[in-house]
């Protein structure tokens, strides 16, 4: 494996913060190469960054892939939930693997620490949301370790400056998609999600709190499992920290995590963007590592 790596060629749709940071991460990955960076505006900050890194750019969006279908094996869609539905209708016909960064809820939800392997059989994988990537692993543990989980609630605070126009306009989809993800991965009956934007200077780090109401809370078991889970997540999100390990306060389980970004394209405080991008890169690398056995066309290329 190590001497003859399969490198997947990836295209990125959407040249905003998410897309640009993904490009930097893909270029660094030994399993991925970024062969196209496509959006609508050649003068955007993201396009300028791509030019400086020598990545091919296009202002034609998804049409640039239709015109040159061989340019990539895998597409990251970092546009919007509405645009993703249209993009998928075209990319599916071309046989592309698509990793969806929007809260569209079209594809299979992927949380690498939980279901990386089982996602390989899907061609459209959805990265849920930043708050979902931060909280669902802990919600999943609560579900695993308790008989009956009535309710899980997740609150994420993020720096105002890390929330771009797409995050803001999609705030309802963020809430509803994360709520659905929590239910799917924890088995809880009801869930609630809140997102708070905090404009403090210097900007705050992303912080996520998971609250749960369960019949017989087992804090000791949960504690060990949460520490272990945080370690697993750190393997692909280095800035993930468990800052308040599971405690019982006012009859609720409370777990708090903090996510600092890698500071690739975006500042370190943008842990919300970093965590979903790190998760997406982990998924794409998994496709690359398995591409010889899976029915996925990969162009072998040496770096």
């Amino acid at each position: 494996m190590a001497d003859k790596k399969t490198i997947l060629n990836v295209a990125i749709l959407g040249t905003g913060n998410i897309g640009t940071d993904l490009m930097v991460k893909a270029l660094r990955s030994p399993f991925l190469d970024c062969t196209l960076f496509a959006g609508r505006n050649l003068t955007s900050a993201g396009m300028t960054k791509a030019n400086s890194l020598g990545v091919r750019v296009s202002a034609l969006g998804v049409e640039s892939i239709m015109k040159d279908p061989d340019c990539c094996d895998l597409v990251f869609d970092a546009t919007s939930a509405i645009d993703h539905k249209y993009h998928w209708s075209l990319l599916e016909k071309m046989g592309k693997i698509v990793i969806d960064m929007t809260p569209s809820r079209v594809g299979e939800m992927c949380i690498p620490a939980i279901n990386l392997d089982s996602c390989l059989k899907y061609k459209n994988v959805n990265m849920v949301t930043c708050g979902g990537q931060a909280s669902i692993p802990m919600a999943h543990l609560i579900g695993l370790l308790h008989q009956e989980v009535d309710y899980i609630e997740v609150i994420s605070s993020i720096a105002s400056r890390s929330a771009g126009p797409a995050t803001r306009i999609n705030i309802d989809e963020y809430v509803e998609t994360t709520e659905e993800g929590i239910k799917i991965f924890s088995g809880c009956k009801r869930s609630k999600v809140m997102l708070i934007l905090n404009p403090a200077h210097p900007p705050i780090d992303m912080q996520t709190t998971v609250f749960a109401k369960v019949k017989k809370p087992d804090i000791q078991k949960l504690n060990a499992a949460a520490v272990d889970m945080a370690r697993q997540i750190q393997a692909y999100v280095p800035g993930y920290q468990l800052i308040v390990p599971p405690v019982l306060e006012n009859k609720r389980i409370v777990i708090m995590v903090k996510i600092q970004g890698l500071g690739d394209y975006l500042p370190k405080f943008a842990g919300n963007l970093d965590i979903i991008n790190c998760a997406a890169i982990a998924m794409a690398e998994e496709y690359a590592k398995n591409s010889r056995s899976a029915p996925i066309r990969a162009s072998a290329k040496n770096k």
């Binding site: 605070s157 309802d172 809140m194 705050i204």
Partner: protein
């Protein structure tokens, strides 16, 4: 010359914080009926942080939103039924559609004072349904006037009928109110309003300052029933406004009766300015945190005043109640002593 001031009464909504969101069906029914009889133009109901906010984070409501809205709707004949929503907590699909179908008349869409663009879809949605919709800039003490104007202008562009500044932490003094409201009134084409909290004993003073600066909408609650030290006391606010030559359309005697009735029926304790409320205002932290700060400080054996000021240092905003636990854990680990 008599100018009209539009009075909106969030006694059942802001006051919900004061009783940890435990208002019951009888209390909501009897208060809405009495407020309707007193000629209160708008009566706001719901969880303290608005629709969809019943939660472990902020506090669970005794009654769900549907039940509250149904009871209020049945009892409000002349008064309009109002609600509060915060994008990031309430969504169009889950909450606004329900409120519309249950006959809510007036919608307040609120966000932290620097984040107006998260209200765009919610405000436009209500606008397109032809209902009254106002933008709310919460915690307005945290932003300078030119930022507030920019944010208010966005809400106007989304279709809001008016914009209100909320002094959610009760942290403002009259000179702040004057310069901010004057600039908003001068810059916007829509109505401007003010929602005061009494942490520093300035709720009435700030409200009349807002009116003198050109605001035409004021919030007040009977006995000041609201989060922290409470709001502008409505049975004081209305006669003060009338004395100053403004008209509100509220029946004075019935308003006094309403306030007596509400004290008996709704309040375990009438809001007053406690040391905690003063710290909350000076730290610039949302009044609704009060009960959580008291409980959690006690549980972790730390001084609640230190907790308030540490939250203030971190510039925590409404909806971040979870951080109180983190701060208390940290202070406890440091031996419970602060500044």
């Amino acid at each position: 010359m008599i100018s009209n001031i539009l009075i909106s009464d969030p006694t059942l909504r802001d006051g919900s914080h004061a009783v940890s969101h435990q208002l019951n069906a009888h209390q909501i029914a009897s208060y809405t009926a009495a407020a309707d009889a007193a000629g209160i133009p708008i009566v706001e109901v719901g969880h303290g942080n608005g629709l969809g906010a019943s939660s472990l984070q902020i506090g669970e409501s005794l009654l769900d939103d549907t039940t509250i809205l149904k009871i209020a709707r049945e009892n409000l004949i002349h008064s309009k039924l109002g609600i509060h929503v915060m994008p990031g907590i309430a969504t169009i699909n889950k909450d606004l559609k329900k409120a519309l179908s249950m006959g809510v008349d007036v919608f307040r869409v609120a966000c932290h004072c620097t984040e107006a663009d998260i209200t765009q879809r919610h405000i436009s949605f209500i606008r397109n349904k032809g209902k009254e919709v106002y933008g709310v800039l919460m915690m307005n003490h945290m932003a300078p006037k030119d930022v507030l104007v920019e944010e208010a202008y966005k809400m106007q562009s989304y279709g809001a009928d008016g914009v209100l500044l909320y002094d959610s932490a009760g942290a403002s003094i009259p000179s702040d109110v004057k310069e901010k409201i004057e600039l908003l009134v001068k810059s916007l084409e829509i109505q401007v309003g003010y929602h005061a909290h009494n942490n520093l004993g300035l709720a009435i003073a700030n409200s009349i300052t807002a009116v003198q600066a050109g605001a035409t909408i004021l919030d007040g609650t009977v006995r000041g029933f609201g989060a922290g030290a409470g709001n502008a006391q409505l049975e004081v606010l209305v006669p003060v406004l009338e004395k100053m030559g403004y008209s509100t359309g509220v029946d004075f005697y019935k308003l006094l009766d309403l306030s007596d009735f509400a004290e008996r029926e709704l309040m375990k304790v009438v809001p007053s300015i406690k040391p905690d409320s003063v710290c909350s205002a000076l730290a610039g932290i949302f009044s609704g945190f009060s009960k959580h700060v008291q409980r959690i400080s006690k549980e972790y054996g730390v001084d609640s005043r230190d907790v308030w000021f540490e939250l203030g240092r971190r510039k925590i905003v409404a909806g971040q109640e979870d951080i109180i636990i983190e701060v208390a854990v940290k202070l406890a680990a440091e031996g419970g002593k602060g500044q």
